[in-house]
Subunit: 103 residues, 2 copies
DNA sequence: TGCTTATATGATTAAATGCTCATATATCAT
DNA sequence: ATGATATATGAGCATTTAATCATATAAGCA
């Protein structure tokens, strides 16, 4: 396999490698939201949220549209939820296995 | 959802957010391998590879066993392949969609 | 036009990451 | 015990990432 594949793949993982970005993706599960809603929900600095949104957009996970002075972000890559679920399931399974070992 | 969930989840993604680590996971697909095989395969510094292996192990993705002077690493979390495949499929789909837009 | 609000971006700083070189540790063979 | 080999780890440095503050840009309103 062309090694560059691993590089682009790594970029995707990097985009999800921050808790705040994962929270954003979850928050957008039910549909698009205005930045003006996302920021107070996360209770983080507006500029910081803006950069995390930009990172997710760069990775192709989110997309955005402008409406007047507002910007609405939405999930572009719906597969992201399947990926997030798989990771969570996988980690839960690991914990269960460890629990068995310790019991 | 408890926000700490996003933190542990992010750790998993971080573990896969480097091309070399993804290559390692792929290399171990057919079974465990000795570090003495992994290093020349990757053509990277032994100490560097050692650290990447440690990172994957910390994340629960790999495990290792010692045999004499050698150490064998193997995939502990088999779900990782499903996750890697999903990400790749998802990215391919995005490219196809973009191609349609540009055509 | 000038004012206000929403969002993005530049600059700075602190912290984390990745790499390399050198060295430590462990095991095995002589 | 000595030496050789495999792997891990400490120290140092360069790069990247994240956060914050301040400011730029753009749209809408008076």
């Amino acid at each position: 396999m062309d090694n560059r594949v691993y590089e682009v793949q790594a970029e995707y993982f990097k985009a999800l490698s921050h808790p705040l970005r994962i929270r954003i993706v979850h928050y957008l599960k039910e549909g698009e939201r205005c930045v003006c809603k996302i920021v107070p929900y996360l209770k983080e600095e507006q500029s910081n949220v803006s950069r995390h949104l930009a990172a997710l957009k760069r990775a192709g996970i989110l997309s955005s549209r402008k409406e007047g002075v507002s910007v609405y972000y939405r999930v572009q890559d719906e597969n992201v939820y399947e990926i997030l679920d798989l990771v969570l399931d996988s980690m839960k399974k690991a914990v269960r296995e460890k629990a068995v070992i310790l019991s």
